[in-house]
């Protein structure tokens, strides 16, 4: 395969970028979900009190 280094670099760069974006999106969702659960627990505790 000619220019294999250029082809490999282009594909690795594209897929690392897309994976990083997907991972960041997933992490932000998990963090937001955790914050919501925490808030719900605090509100329930406050309602009971």
């Amino acid at each position: 395969m000619s220019h294999i280094n250029f082809i490999a670099t282009a594909y690795i760069l594209a897929f690392v970028s897309l994976s990083a974006l997907t991972l960041r999106t997933w992490l932000r969702y998990r963090l937001q979900m955790r914050e919501l659960k925490l808030m719900e627990a605090l509100v329930n505790k406050s309602d009971e009190a």
């Binding site: 395969m1 282009a10 970028s17 974006l21 997907t22 808030m39 605090l42």
Partner: protein, 242 residues
């Protein structure tokens, strides 16, 4: 379901919960098929050799870099005209995805340019207008992130997104309006595609994968935003109770 029901967070949340896993699944399948065609099942170009394979990651990224900005512009216009906040949130959720697609387009284009043109970069009308698009995405994201008053940030960033729409026809027709090193369109043309079917197939599979990933990420980011609104409401309720 009508158009306005999409603007209601509850209805939208129900749709997003189904859309996100489906779109992620479709992305994996489409990328697997696309990569098989792009790397193994497609022929070598008689002039470019194997470097033509870079086109299969570069071209769809460029198409969607433009289309996502178009989507952001339309959503922002809907927010400014009809005052639908969800439209502005959709634009906000789409911006980082568009920025990453534009980055991929610029970077892979540059990597292709070195063996084919003998240079990483030229200040050609197509390349420069794509760089301007990338800067527009960054400006939009920075504006939202740096403005304290979120309502004001949405309004100003929406105006910026609508103004930035001017750049889309400039990018699309730059190869016809000016003498550029970048080759003219060979797929999205009035006379139909000019490239051979054996090269069009991997391009369309990869484009479908990029589209599915955009839908998945947009849907996931909107879900995160909706969770954030719920958390803030609970925080306000808690502060009020205290």
């Amino acid at each position: 379901m009508n158009f306005y029901s999409l603007a209601q967070p509850k209805k939208l949340e129900q749709i997003l919960q189904k859309t996100t896993p489906l779109a992620y699944g479709a992305t994996l399948v489409l990328f697997a098929i696309g990569l098989y065609y792009a790397l193994f099942a497609s022929p070598v170009d008689y002039q470019q050799g194997d470097s033509v394979r870079i086109m299969y990651v570069h071209v769809p990224a460029s198409w969607f870099a433009l289309m996502i900005y178009g989507f952001m512009g339309v959503c922002s216009a809907l927010f400014l005209v009809f005052r639908i906040p969800m439209a502005a949130y959709m634009a906000q959720a789409a911006a980082p995805i568009g920025a990453v697609y534009t980055f991929i387009s610029l970077a892979t284009g540059s990597i292709w340019g070195k063996p084919m043109w003998g240079t990483w970069w030229v200040w050609d009308a197509r390349l420069t207008s794509m760089l301007v698009l990338f800067l527009m995405y960054l400006g939009y994201i920075l504006l939202i992130e740096s403005t304290e008053d979120k309502e004001k940030a949405l309004r100003i960033s929406s105006i910026l997104a609508v103004i930035g729409l001017i750049n889309l026809p400039i990018i699309k027709f730059s190869v016809e309006w000016w003498h550029t090193l970048h080759q003219p369109a060979s797929v999205i043309r009035l006379n139909g595609p000019s490239i051979h079917g054996s090269m069009l197939t991997p391009l369309l599979w990869m484009a479908s994968a990029y589209l599915a990933l955009f839908v998945a990420l947009l849907s996931h980011r909107l879900q995160t935003m909706l969770l954030g609104f719920k958390a803030r409401n609970l925080q306000a309720k808690l502060a009020w109770q205290e």
